[in-house]
Symmetry: C2
Subunit: 210 residues, 2 copies
């Protein structure tokens, strides 16, 4: 299933959630689901679900519901799951190590093949058989390995220092540092700001209290 | 500045990003900024910026730009920063510990006052003077302390077990477990799915490769 280039990034961003819910339905042995049922479960309108799925050419049959497994597999393919993406993690503090140790990534075809840090105390520490290497080795590593994604879990200050070594050698950056990295031609970027969602939560609480 | 109840959650969700950019401008000594300049920096349209700020009653003067410090302070107030929110973290694996050790939360008035885990090996381990306690102590703790936010950084399977102890005793849940928790009356929820953004990134890379 080819993804239409015109599909908006807003729809793309909703796909992982569909993927999760469909995966749960699949595990529960559910074979078919209507947009109405999916709508109730996910708390989005049935018409949004139909519109979103239509962006990718449908998948459903009127009055008959969606085939859960088919839909799950199609969305999985659009998301590039099981494509075998190689990742490295730069910054092996607690957050970096938490990502390194998360088993579900490997199951979905995201393979961590390198860990890097500035802190000599961490060199040689191993997670799932991968040892932490000095950041100074990063450039050589990228020249000799095929890396799709660099995960940046390091302080803002260190980002400018490693970016030149990374750019042009990876296809995407999953950025947890507090410095937003702009998307460029040939470089996909996802900037994650964990504290943004805490502030959003705080705002929601403030509105409840009024 | 009172937040209009009708302001959409989409706008609310954009506020933390404005807050970050304005904080950087403030640190750099910038006094005024036009929506056009802010638009270029943030890569959103100037008209969206004006519309977003209008939701909260403006803040700007036509042809004169926005006062950075004023805007920063107003958004900070809307977000409930420096309100002194007490938080507990349930699940002190690497992700929970990474949140517990993050200094910026305290600076913004989010105080971690309790850490809980199921793993006896972690009992008594201390982060910033707070010791990890058994999850069995959670209910008693919530009865004797004023807690605004429960951070859930635990496996999906354990969530159902702790939810009854938490509900009705906190105002918000910052949920990192892989089980989505629905918002209820009197309970604000932010569900964070880290791997969603990795899948979005993977999808973007897939589209680049075509």
């Amino acid at each position: 299933m080819a993804v239409d280039k015109k599909v908006s990034s807003v729809v793309i961003r909703r796909l992982p959630r569909y993927y999760r819910y469909l995966g749960d339905l699949l595990s529960a042995g559910i074979v078919r689901i209507s947009s109405k049922e999916l709508s109730r479960m996910m708390n989005v309108t049935a018409s949004q679900i139909r519109q979103d799925f239509n962006c990718f050419g449908g998948f459903g049959q009127q009055g008959y519901g969606y085939n859960v497994e088919y839909l799950y597999n199609e969305i999985s393919e659009i998301l590039g799951i099981h494509k075998g993406r190689n990742m490295i993690i730069v910054g092996t503090g607690k957050l970096g190590m938490s990502i390194a140790g998360y088993g579900n990534f490997k199951k979905r075809g995201f393979n961590i093949i390198g860990l890097f840090d500035h802190n000599p105390d961490l060199y040689g520490v191993s997670v799932n058989g991968i040892e932490v290497m000095p950041v100074t080795e990063l450039e050589k590593f990228l020249d000799t390995h095929s890396v799709d994604i660099a995960v940046l879990t390091m302080p803002k200050e260190s980002v400018q220092e490693v970016l030149p070594a990374i750019k042009g050698k990876v296809k995407g950056i999953w950025n947890f540092s507090h410095k937003e990295i702009p998307t460029e031609k040939g470089l996909a970027v996802e900037n994650v700001h964990l504290s943004d969602s805490l502030m959003t939560l705080s705002c929601k609480i403030g509105r409840m209290e009024k």
